[in-house]
């Protein structure tokens, strides 16, 4: 499954990093604590968070994550979107809360 498939199936907004929409998705990770993601997330996962600042992209890039989904209508800060474009790691958005979007993504990946 690619990030583009996830965008389509979960009706996500694409804020930035379009050139990474063909990245393969292997799973997901949900946390707003950056060191938790740093320590436990793995490459190819989609990270669900409400953090919108640029350090999110530093971590997404260092961990080779597939994409980031911002919950509850959060938007990426300008320099976050900028780095997302540079790295080709999409920042996506949903109006759903963390619980709902996580359940949907889980079903999609494991269904």
């Amino acid at each position: 499954m690619t990030v583009a498939d996830v965008v389509k199936k979960l009706d996500l907004k694409v804020f930035s990093g379009e050139k990474g929409l063909d990245r393969q998705v292997t799973g997901g990770y949900v946390s707003d604590l950056l060191s938790d993601v740093m320590g436990r997330a793995d490459s190819g996962q989609i990270w669900i968070t409400l953090q919108t600042h640029k350090n999110v992209m530093a971590i997404a890039s260092l961990k080779d994550l597939a994409a980031v989904i911002l919950v509850t209508d959060h938007k990426p800060e300008a320099n976050t979107a900028g780095q997302s474009n540079e790295e080709g790691i999409p920042v996506l958005g949903t109006s759903l809360g963390t619980f709902e979007i996580t359940g949907k993504l889980y079903d999609l990946i494991n269904g």
């Binding site: 950056l34 740093m38 320590g39 968070t49 953090q51 350090n55 260092l62 320099n79």
Partner: protein
């Protein structure tokens, strides 16, 4: 590769927009050198946490990277408040980060434990009101 490579990066205390820059450079170099991906992944976690600690706590710092055929050594030397009790700082969940830093999702007291879990060797020395030196060693030939 040559027998030895050295790199140096400056880190500015408080500047979170650049946090992770040195770690991403280190990752690129190790990839170019075809270092085993599992070692790169552990190196990146340890290096990033150490870099962010300098940004979050110190006034300024320098990262010295030393790579030879045996190991990657990453030494972070900062000027800052220092760590009065290193054992306490190593405890999971203990943090002295500001509320502003915590709101960004840092300062959960997981950084040093992450470094310890991922580094093959971790050495920390500190002098209060002077600064802290952290040395991360990653062995390249299964000597960890």
């Amino acid at each position: 590769m040559d027998n030895q490579m050295q790199f140096e990066y400056n880190v500015e205390g408080g500047n979170f927009t650049r946090a992770g820059y040195a770690s991403s450079q280190i990752k690129k170099i190790l990839k170019q050198l075809n270092v085993d991906i599992a070692i790169i992944k552990r190196t990146v976690v340890a290096a990033y946490e150490a870099e962010v600690n300098v940004v979050a706590h110190a006034y300024s710092g320098t990262i010295y990277v030393d790579i030879d055929t045996e190991a990657v050594k990453i030494k972070l030397v900062d000027e800052g408040p220092g760590i009065p009790d290193i054992d306490q700082a190593m405890e999971e969940g203990y943090s002295t980060a500001s509320s502003q830093v915590r709101e960004m999702g840092f300062g959960a007291g997981m950084g040093l434990p992450n470094m310890k879990k991922n580094a093959d060797k971790l050495e920390i020395s500190s002098e209060v009101e002077k600064g802290t030196t952290v040395e991360i060693t990653m062995f390249l030939n299964d000597k960890g």
